[in-house]
């Protein structure tokens, strides 16, 4: 196990290094001049040239990359003399467009996105797997049809429509919730949850559908396996067969997909965050792209890549513990 984890970690670092190089190269060839973004209204070519030197964009690309990478581990300073300031490690650079360290912007945005991701993942996994189990256990019956119908409904609805529908029904019409205004969990847990309930369900309704289908199909396939039929024939209780043999057998692909879905969602749920005004990673990414704010885009891309790579490694480990047929060493 330890060997496996070390090997995965090494691969993870290698992968992140590749992603960082690719991202850095990609954004360096885009026709956007970061030096002009911090130039102000009465911008002149001379000012842009001076900015380029001040921000280090006059350096060879390889130097820029190593300065950037060094910033991640050791932090980075900007400016000169008494007006100098620094972005502490891990520094993903500085956005002159917004006048803020990128890491600080990401740190400010992450709590909302993590809150959205964790809450919605719990709901969509519970809903998705629950409906999938009901559907599989009642194949061909009304429960199966209702569950399948709900899954298709969820899959076919655009996220923004679900979000706006929930706003209309629960905020405007029934007035059960106030308009969402994100509050940090530590400031007021009740208001935090109140602002997130509808976004959680918005993401969950759309995401749960896939899990319902996966669970249903996986369980039906597993039920036809010899070891399951043997367990039933030996008289094991139905609940035990269901949980220990059928669900466990069906859940491995679900774990894989859930891990990746959660990782991607941690990179930001652009539409849900925009509809509900959540100050998360998705909205930060959207605005940064709109404003061509390259340091922020690079930072978000790397963070998202980090989440995906870590999730992938965790999924592999979980996969192995769920399914003994998978050998970690192989």
């Amino acid at each position: 196990m330890a060997r496996f984890v070390v090997r995965r970690l090494a691969f993870m670092i290698f992968l992140l290094a590749i992603v960082s190089i690719a991202t850095f190269l990609l954004f360096s060839v885009l026709p956007v001049d970061p030096a002009s973004l911090s130039c102000g209204q009465h911008c002149t070519p001379e000012k842009i040239a001076a900015n380029r030197i001040r921000l280090g964009y006059d350096q060879p690309l390889i130097n820029q990359y190593f300065t950037f990478m060094k910033g991640i581990f050791a932090g980075r300073s900007y400016g000169e003399g008494a007006q100098a300031f620094s972005c502490p490690a891990p520094s993903f650079g500085y956005s002159y467009y917004r006048g803020q360290c990128v890491t600080e912007m990401i740190t400010n945005a992450l709590p909302a996105t993590i809150s959205l991701t964790i809450g919605s993942a719990i709901i969509w996994l519970t809903m998705g797997i629950g409906l999938g189990v009901i559907s599989a256990m009642n194949k061909g019956k009304i429960q199966d049809r209702v569950s399948t119908g709900l899954a298709i409904f969820g899959l076919s609805m655009p996220t923004f429509f679900i979000g706006l529908l929930l706003i209309y029904v629960f905020i405007i019409w029934l007035q059960i919730f106030p308009f969402p205004s994100y509050t940090h969990f530590l400031d007021n847990p009740f208001k935090w949850a109140q602002a997130l309930v509808l976004p959680w369900f918005t993401v969950a309704i759309v995401s749960a559908a896939l899990y319902t289908r996966l669970t249903r199909d996986g369980m039906l396939e597993t039920m036809s396996e010899d070891y399951v039929r043997l367990a039933i024939a030996k008289g094991l209780p139905r609940r035990k067969v269901l949980v220990r043999y059928v669900l466990r057998g069906a859940i491995t692909p679900i774990v894989t997909i859930a891990g990746l879905d959660i990782a991607v969602l941690l990179g930001g749920a652009i539409i849900t965050e925009s509809v509900f005004g959540l100050p998360g990673m998705g909205r930060l990414a959207l605005n940064s792209v709109t404003d061509s704010d390259l340091p922020v885009i690079v930072g978000i891309t790397l963070i998202t890549a980090f989440f995906v790579v870590v999730a992938n490694a965790l999924v592999d480990i979980l996969y192995a513990s769920l399914d003994p047929r998978v050998r970690l060493e192989s």
């Binding site: 007006q83 917004r98 209309y168 405007i172 106030p178 308009f179 709109t290 404003d291």
Partner: protein, 577 residues
């Protein structure tokens, strides 16, 4: 004052509008009427991610100037917090009076009041004011703010700008240049100018002339946390989330005859959905009755808000300081009949319609907004101009151009003229109206959509600018000295490229005459003449004088459009107790 472009309408907002626009139910806790009182919390909602700038020397949009000038930053003079034209009156703020001009208006002195304090309780000194103004010269760090200090102060300049590089990099010798132009004698600060500036006491209303304590200056990062000398201080500022202002216990109300400081607390919530902002304020239920929108009202909600009397005390619809126009690149279109044909052909009614109809503004007859009451007079617009365009009159003018300037005529009717506009859905509609109007007159127009964030940097670059570029401008203070020289003279916003036009010499003479004039009434007469002259030369086509709509919850009183800035008078807003 540049046009604030906070509106980023995306697919999500558009879709949400469809769903939410008809859903304004809910009880109203109050109708917006009351008497001013202290206490409570006002919460502002905005679609913006953050303030453009918090640093006073970098602050330049009308809304930001009005907000921070009301709550956080005091200047030597400021505008009266009053409705209508009374709000255009310049009043003493940190200074004991509105300044003393000597040397025919080339030297101005202001004396600070007693009892001025920073938020830490220390005294605001004359040196703090001088230091604050000096920061404007550090153009590598202090970007985006107005640069009148650089233009006006008597400091030698070379080919690459002022010889004084600002306080961060100045040598002792360079600093002496500044200290010679801006000096302190006890509590009196004196500005030596390089020319007569008759309205310099208006200039110093800009926050670029606000004090900054040198010891607390953090350069670039001062934009995140400024030291307050006003009635409120910044408790927290998280970009893309919120800003909270609380009372500055060290603000001395006796030293401030200008501000009322009604609420105990001010909260700004950023990055809100415009449709949601409108719906919450329309419903105005519970805590939402204490909300104020910083972004007006969505066009689709205007009929609801202005068609129902229940909102009469909570809404504002007034002319704002912006004059909207399309600048003509005179270097490329150096042919008056073609420019006149463009003016005559344009269907201005349709242009206004796509911008929001009568809520967008009133037809403009020049470039000086009626909000600068002293300088505004109705102009005589060219014969043949009709609200919906006059293609026949335009064709007649083109016939004149055929012989007078065949090259430009050929371009206008053959190859086509390039129309620059920001690449947004609203401006794309505007371009479509222009193209259609011109087509009827036989003029070919080609749209040139430009990324909104880069629009001005592109059209201000002669090499990249097209033939016609849309623009909007508001006075930096209520004098046309900040309008006409900026748009068609030596100012920094001349995108009409008209300085090589043979007609420019006469215009420049008018400008020079007006700028040197210390008699305000005589100056106003010259501005009126110059406004008509610019219109006659069709260096730009005025479309309409902007109108702004503001909206607030039922428990907020005191709302009106503050003339100098075309935004809320934030100081006047109070919580109805």
């Amino acid at each position: 004052m540049k046009l604030n472009s906070r509106t980023k309408f995306g697919v999500v907002v558009a879709a949400s509008t469809l769903l939410l626009s008809a859903c304004g139910g809910g009880g109203t806790s109050a109708d917006g009427s009351g008497t001013p009182a202290k206490g409570g919390t006002i919460t502002y909602l905005t679609i913006a991610e953050q303030f453009n700038h918090v640093d006073p020397q970098r602050n330049y949009t009308g809304q930001d100037l009005a907000f921070f000038g009301s709550y956080v930053n005091r200047t030597l003079t400021s505008y009266a917090h009053a409705e209508g034209t009374a709000g255009a009156e310049v009043v003493a703020d940190m200074a004991t009076d509105t300044g003393t001009a000597t040397d025919g208006g080339k030297t101005w002195s202001f004396t600070l009041r007693d009892g001025l304090t920073w938020e830490d309780g220390s005294e605001v000194t004359c040196q703090d004011v001088a230091y604050g103004v000096s920061r404007v010269f550090a153009t590598d760090i202090i970007v985006d703010g107005p640069t009148y200090a650089i233009s006006y102060l008597d400091i030698p300049a070379g080919d690459e700008g002022s010889n004084y590089p600002g306080p961060y990099k100045a040598t002792a010798e360079q600093q002496a240049l500044y200290d010679n132009a801006v000096s302190c004698d006890g509590k009196t600060i004196t500005f030596k100018l390089n020319k007569v500036v008759a309205d310099f006491n208006y200039t110093v209303t800009l926050l670029a002339f606000a004090p900054v304590p040198k010891a607390k200056d953090t350069g670039e990062k001062y934009d995140d946390a400024v030291v307050s000398n006003g009635p409120y201080k910044i408790e927290s500022y998280v970009k893309a989330q919120s800003m909270t202002l609380v009372r500055n216990e060290n603000w001395n109300p006796d030293s401030d005859p200008v501000r009322h400081a009604y609420p105990d607390k001010v909260v700004v919530n950023f990055a809100q959905d415009q449709a949601v902002i409108d719906s919450r304020i329309i419903a105005s239920s519970g805590e939402d009755a204490f909300l104020v929108s910083m972004d007006g009202i969505q066009p689709e909600n205007l009929p609801t808000v202005f068609g129902d009397d229940q909102f009469k005390n909570r809404r504002v619809n007034e002319t704002d300081p912006y004059a909207l126009y399309a600048a003509i690149n005179v270097k490329k279109l150096n042919c008056l009949p073609v420019r006149q044909a463009l003016l005559v052909a344009l269907d201005r009614e349709a242009v206004r319609q796509v911008a929001g109809g009568e809520f967008a503004g009133d037809f403009a007859d020049g470039f000086i907004s009626p909000t600068i009451a002293a300088d505004y007079a109705p102009n005589k617009v060219l014969d043949g101009v009709q609200p919906t365009g006059n293609p026949d009159a335009a064709k007649a003018l083109l016939e004149q151009a055929k012989t007078a300037c065949p090259d430009v005529y050929a371009k206008a009717t053959g190859e086509g003229l390039v129309y620059d506009h920001p690449d947004t859905p609203t401006w794309a509609k505007n371009a479509a109206v222009w193209i259609e109007s011109m087509k009827k007159a036989g003029i070919v127009l080609k749209p040139n959509p430009i990324e909104p964030g880069k629009y001005y940097s592109v059209v201000m670059d002669e090499a990249l600018q097209g033939d016609i570029s849309r623009g909007g401008w508001a006075a930096d203070w209520l004098n046309s000295s900040t309008v006409l020289p900026e748009l068609f003279g030596e100012g920094g916003f001349n995108i009409s490229q008209n300085k090589k036009d043979p007609a420019y010499a006469a215009y420049k003479a008018l400008m020079d005459d007006a700028l040197a004039q210390t008699d305000r009434a005589a100056q106003a007469a010259i501005w009126k003449k110059a406004n008509q002259y610019a219109l006659d030369q069709v260096w730009a086509i005025p479309t309409f004088f902007g109108r702004s709509q503001e909206f607030r919850g039922g428990n907020i009183g005191g709302g009106y459009l503050w003339y100098p800035f075309g935004s809320h008078d934030y100081d006047a807003l109070y919580v109805i107790q």
